[in-house]
Symmetry: D2
């Protein structure tokens, strides 16, 4: 029997449940296909091969979790001829189409960048691709363009840093000018990779200054793995919220670089602290999206685990005794305030989430349900295993 | 009511309790006095001013937690004329004296190092100081010399790296030669600081090679905050255990550098993973010591919190279902194996630790007991608040 | 004889010389006194003990280098009763007083922050101290307030991150409101330390957003050691220049954290790349200030070395063949463009700087001149060696 | 005209030249083909497509630099049916075959590791592949097996860290047992990637302990990009030399992770400091190998640039006034010692290297010679441009 000081009250539980029910998480189509590192891509039996299969997998995740009603697309990876048909296909499977992600690195012409490229023709084609994505978003009913630029340089002197900054702002402005009312442009930043010497959008500061210049439909996208070691990510979230600049998340986890691991698998306490800033309220339109890469494990159950881990962190964050915490903070009781936060983190919220899932009509343990349901075997049988060559093997 | 899959069995609990009862943690005398950063030392009311007060505070921590029966000393900070009397003083307060820590940085002559100093006279005095510490250890009945060298350089070319390595080995050998049978020399490493360009014992590899050369009474001391960002500390622990080279820990936590924060306060999952390597068994004589610096909070309750956090991590680590885990690992079930570890971490062990504490005859919440007991107020009244100047203020 | 492709033309030299003559560097009063790490302060014979001695040392550096006409002060370390007299004292020694640096960490009341402190009284006193510094600046004729806040927290939950951000902006606005026309407020950021969990002004993005809100008299101060590992500092400089937000530098160097080593001593190529952004022109009012800590070496010659290293980096930066570089960049010739920058870096500019110094009327080798001139010995004789206790020794 | 204190004496020059002539650098076959990041592989016109083309490119680099007489192979990327014929092919082109690199990551079976894999069958096949590489080395007359293991895990709990360490040692012992007399096994370590949570050979300490256990034919291979941020790489080199454990280098450069950029392009001062440890003498059989990845630039001229940069760093290192340096170090003259090292680094060694190249019968500027010689155009014409898909595009 738990001692009194570590038990939840019914009021805590009910209040947390109503907030948890409102949490919707978007999964990425590209998380369902084979992926890997520059060294090799280890194929997974049954991994999705087409946009339809990827949407079907996302729909399965929604069916098992009850909280993932949309799927993000990457263009041209997920490009089709008939977008209204794709929208209907998704809806028939029970999901909607979420953020549209332009791809500005997968074509040979982007060797030196896209909208920051030294050649004006390449820049124009990059902007044009973003405009096509905006049209696709309109056709599929998506309210969000999620823009990550792989632009950067590998060597000092390769290009002029100030010129590239000017091109960045100019390109973003051209894209922004094409946004219809009600559609948001989420501007993602990343500390490094694939540019190794410089990255044109390396930090939230650059993204924030750019968004301020663009207008209120532009906001910053925080990928939790895109920061230097030791960064206080929850503080960035707090400041962006305070400045009304937080547009959404790409959730994943990492130990060193941009590892794209299962959300919360390396540092669940950091995830909890990030979700605490969300739990404080007033988060408006923040988009909760997952962006990860399942290199050595099955994709669908790992995606479900990420969803669970976000829910877990959020549930714990909702249990922080905010009134007592505010008191301890005001008194400067450093340890006392810290302990109040820690107490919420130490609480086992699995029973609470089990209750949430029963109410949502899904299994208490969605990963267990996936594994027990024979889904993986059926998909492997249906789709087979595709062997994939990697960059290094193309020598 | 928790779902079946997240409840502890009685067998799990009893087995974990017997292991938890065996966990003894040593607190450091220097954690009870005022400390700070290079910028300022913020004094704390009632902070200990003498070795006797520091021992009394450690004894209080033992009285409140039931698991901290020894206190580490730092010489000359804790130097006295009569060590047998100091030993009796400690015993009368209910604690023994643990590791003796030679100080090889607090004297002006160590500007360029101690046993790695370019001047042979300084090196000889450093070795002599270690020998005195060995004698003190014999007088107070301590089985451990815990040696951290602040040796390093600030500028490329300042000294010869290979020569310094040779001096390091020579000095350690001289100290080792003076060790009586049964006493261990724990060799600590640190990535950087106070040497900013090079540190003579920068990593576990250097410490391990040195200990191998010295003999079986020399082992490596792992300070959890002494690694570069992104280091997998639990793997170092695992390898040192496998190589029979793990001598002990200096526990603390950090976000960026060697921050010396409360154990587990920044990354409790890392602490859990470290304790899992301990929970796997065969840890022999490993010394569990705390080394931290309470710059802005009270010292005694923060020390208790560190003790609690180590117990929490260890309790969770003991709950890992090792048989199922070994099965999942053997099958290559990446997510399945990870989930078994995660399930233990998510378990709320506060009830289990409450039971442990009842059995040890201490309060279920030792920090609460300290705060409710009027100890802080009494100490502040008795000792007052000492204002302290810092390095920067000495301009 | 150098091959043709690595020889300077007379035109290159003359053009570089005229730019070099315009480069003025400010040295910090606090760099002339004893300083150290949290572990110990190793005293240096003859280190300055008073503001007058610190100004005299700065004046000596100017006399030997010909390019350091001002000295920055730290208040209250350099506080005096009669500032007009201090201004005259400096002028009599041949230097002016540069940036005034408020100190918001050296008083016990700042344990939990200054303008971000949870207590409104402390915040008010912090603002008041900044106002006093503004008055001092007016009295000594200084056009710059250089503001570094040590504000931060050590533990998750200790304080509310969003509230602290609001207090930060409010406090800065109150200070800004007191600025007379023509005086600039330089807002410094720092990644971590002394706050270990969060820092209220942790990055250039926070500083830039704050300055934008304050107005055109507020600009960002870049301390080259205040970034996470792997940061592209020259890109931050480039972006701040592009956004007209670069106020000045605190130059120093580091290997891991904020080591405050001699400028350029660890990574001279980074310093060169930073100075290349300056050499590109349009830098307006940028203040070139040194901020370092000479823990184990003499202070005056180390300061001179830092000045030399900045000049060296700038001289090399001025030799970049910008026309050829722009061509290679436009063509996307990655290696070709990099090689043009590298060629400038590989050029030995010591002869060029020797010519500059002859024209300035100082010795070709100012460090050699200091060492040969008997200055160190005279100062040691006059001032003696002050032994200093450090934080750790105050146990 | 350079001032006296920065001119080289003839004696310095002649002595440095004789050491420089002895420096031989091995280039990697895999550096001549297309490579990229996980995001995309940007193809390069004329990039080598077969082992014969890769050897031909290495031979061209040797012809242009005069100091790259061998080429390293990667098996199975460079596998052929007739190795004696491959050896003859190389010799006809003027080069020999250097280190043989087993590939233990490019096959689907290595998803969970090679010699550390949980499955004994996979481990056995990994060992067998190494044995085949030993046989190839014998057939082509190579004295070195260069072994990098991509083994690691992505998630806590995925596998047992101590079991993996045991498998690592066992596998290495099996490989070592197959080494013929006179052949060396170079054991490479890497901090992270492609394993993101743990890497089985993460640091030089693990490699050194393993080599000590294996025997004197096993030595450590230092890849300059395989360390955590802030690591003092030259100190690792110094310690490995002191312990007679340094087997060789994989040279490249990086800003953040294992970027595999042109040697010396990001931090030439670090390269210089590394080469200074080499210049101190007694380096025996150390293998100087390049390992890099030219993602966005031409491969051959970038490889030549890396060769030049190693020569540049070594030439500067040879110019350090070791006698004066030893004196300054012995006196504890921190700044004086540092300045002696810095003076060597600031020397423009391009004239010296021009003389070396004239004596070797190659162009003073080998990159210029490559670019002027029409080689790139001829290769592009002959080989064309191969488009390459990347992992991410295989969704």
């Amino acid at each position: 029997m738990a001692p009194e000081w570590c038990r939840l009250t019914a009021m805590d539980e009910n209040s947390a449940l109503s907030r948890l029910r409102a949490l919707q998480i978007e999964t990425p189509s590209w998380g369902y296909g084979n992926s890997g590192t520059r060294f090799h891509v280890y194929p997974w039996p049954g991994a999705a091969r087409t946009v339809q299969e990827r949407i079907a997998d996302a729909a399965l995740v929604h069916r098992l979790t009850g909280c993932c009603p949309t799927v993000a697309l990457h263009i041209p990876w997920d490009a089709v001829d008939d977008y209204p048909a794709l929208k209907r296909y998704a809806e028939e499977h029970g999901v909607g189409i979420g953020a549209i992600n332009p791809n500005l690195f997968g074509s040979d012409e982007y060797r030196l960048g896209s909208i920051c490229h030294p050649d004006a023709d390449v820049r124009a084609r990059a902007v044009e691709h973003c405009r096509e994505c905006i049209q696709i978003a309109e056709q599929v009913g998506s309210p969000v363009i999620s823009l990550w630029l792989a632009d950067g340089t590998n060597y000092p002197g390769q290009d002029d840093l100030r010129d590239r900054h000017a091109r960045l702002l100019e390109g973003l402005q051209e894209v922004y000018a094409s946004l219809p009312a009600g559609m948001r442009l989420l501007v993602e930043y990343k500390f490094f990779e694939p540019g190794f010497y410089s990255t044109d959008l390396p930090d939230w500061g650059t993204a924030a200054l750019a968004c301020r210049r663009l207008g209120s439909q532009a906001q910053v996208l925080v990928d939790t793995g895109h920061h230097p070691q030791g960064t206080n990510v929850e503080q960035i979230v707090a400041v962006l919220l305070a400045e009304e600049l937080l547009g959404g998340f790409h959730f994943n986890n990492r130990k060193y670089a941009d590892d794209d691991l299962i959300v919360g698998s390396i540092d669940p306490f950091e995830l909890f602290r990030i979700m605490r800033e969300i739990a404080r309220g007033d988060t408006g339109d923040v988009a909760f999206m997952i962006d990860q890469s399942h290199n050595i494990e099955g994709k669908i159950d790992a995606m479900i685990q990420s969803v669970i881990n976000i829910q877990t962190a959020y549930a714990k964050a909702l249990l922080v005794d905010e009134a007592r915490l505010a008191g301890a903070q005001a008194e400067g009781d450093v340890l006392g305030a810290h302990r109040i936060v820690l107490a919420a983190f130490e609480t086992d919220v699995r029973p609470l989430l089990a209750r949430l899932r029963r109410e949502l009509g899904v299994d208490e343990d969605p990963v267990g349900a996936f594994r027990a349901g024979g889904f993986a075997e059926a998909l492997a049988h249906e789709r087979g295993t595709a062997s994939v060559e990697s960059a290094y093997e193309r020598l």
